[in-house]
Amino acid sequence: MAEEKPNLRWEAEKGLLKKNPVFVILLGLCPFLAISKSVEDAIGMTLAFGFVLLGTCLVTSLIRRWVPRDVRIPMFVVIIASFVTITELIVRAYSPTLREHLGIFLPLITVNCIVLGRVEAFSSKRSVLESLADAIGMTAGFGLAIISISFIRELLGTGGIKFFGYSFTIFGQPASGFLLSPGGFLVMGGILALLKKLGVI
């Protein structure tokens, strides 16, 4: 079987905008909306998510020739869950504050459809390098989406931004509804509409 020449640059770039996992593929929105309330948490979530996605894509791509079709999903889920558990243990050991902020959504990365989606659709069929490029791109896209949305939500919802000890306040009468899920949907819809209008996605 003649494999196409892998285009690593495209695989890494597509996740950022053209196939952004949140804005275009619209996957994993539940934890996404729950975490995108503060920029700090969003960065923590991106790191945890990126670690799980990179690890899982690497392993599934390595073992892709030995995975029987019938049990591929359970095998992928075992691998994803293991990486999530490893992440959780490490975060609890080294950054209890981050663990406190991410709460239940850290273990819930296991059932995040973006991860299983990338494994099933991409890394279980492609070479290791392509899979890693794809995972990096998807993480960047996820990070871009969650950090931009959480910036808007935190700004409108609390009136300022708190960022690793630094904080500033712009206005004193925040609309705390932006911190709730409906506010998340509003911001998300607004950004989607804007990006569509501009023709970015």
């Binding site: 075992v78 558990t85 911190l179």
Partner: protein, 163 residues
């Protein structure tokens, strides 16, 4: 046997990852326990500055110059987002010395305001009878975060009764 291959593959995956997880657990276990202990000790030291303390049945007795000045009790309570762990420092005369939240899952920016010093400092020096929301008591609940406020109040009440 066609069935054998998937069964073997899945079993092998589980065994390998089980082993890896066991290993990671073993190397992080002590770190995690230490991080939790440090967090608690830091908060007790905030409530009782300059004290040494001894643990007995998960109550921390705090001594200053070998004299018992109070104790710290950890109470679990139910907030808006699930379990909250609240640390309550109690003076020897059974009034509140200070309150700290060890862990919580309240909504950031809304319920979480009830875990911040501006709310928690109200409890300082209150006795059992004053532990109620205004006008019956001395505690001002946070608008929009009634459930979280009540959870903390209940925790402090329970800590006083318990001790």
């Amino acid at each position: 046997m066609k069935i054998l291959k998937p069964v073997l593959a899945l079993t092998l995956t589980c065994i390998v990852w089980g082993l890896i997880l066991g290993y990671v657990h073993r190397i992080t276990e002590s770190k995690i326990a230490e991080a939790e202990r440090k967090e608690r000790e830091k908060m007790i030291a905030e409530i009782f500055p300059g004290c040494s303390f001894e643990e007995e049945n998960s109550i921390f007795y705090c001594f200053q110059n070998n004299r018992l000045v109070g104790k710290a009790v950890e109470v679990e309570t139910k907030g808006y987002g699930g379990t909250m762990r609240v640390l309550v420092g109690i003076n020897a005369d059974n009034t509140v010395r200070g309150v700290r939240v060890l862990s919580h899952n309240e909504t950031r920016g809304i319920g979480s305001r009830a875990t911040e010093p501006s709310f928690l400092s109200q409890f300082e020096n209150l006795g059992k009878e004053q532990l109620a929301f205004k006008p019956q008591g001395q505690v001002e609940a946070i608008t929009g975060a009634t459930i979280s406020s009540r959870a903390i109040l209940e925790a402090v009440k329970r800590a006083l009764e318990y001790g």
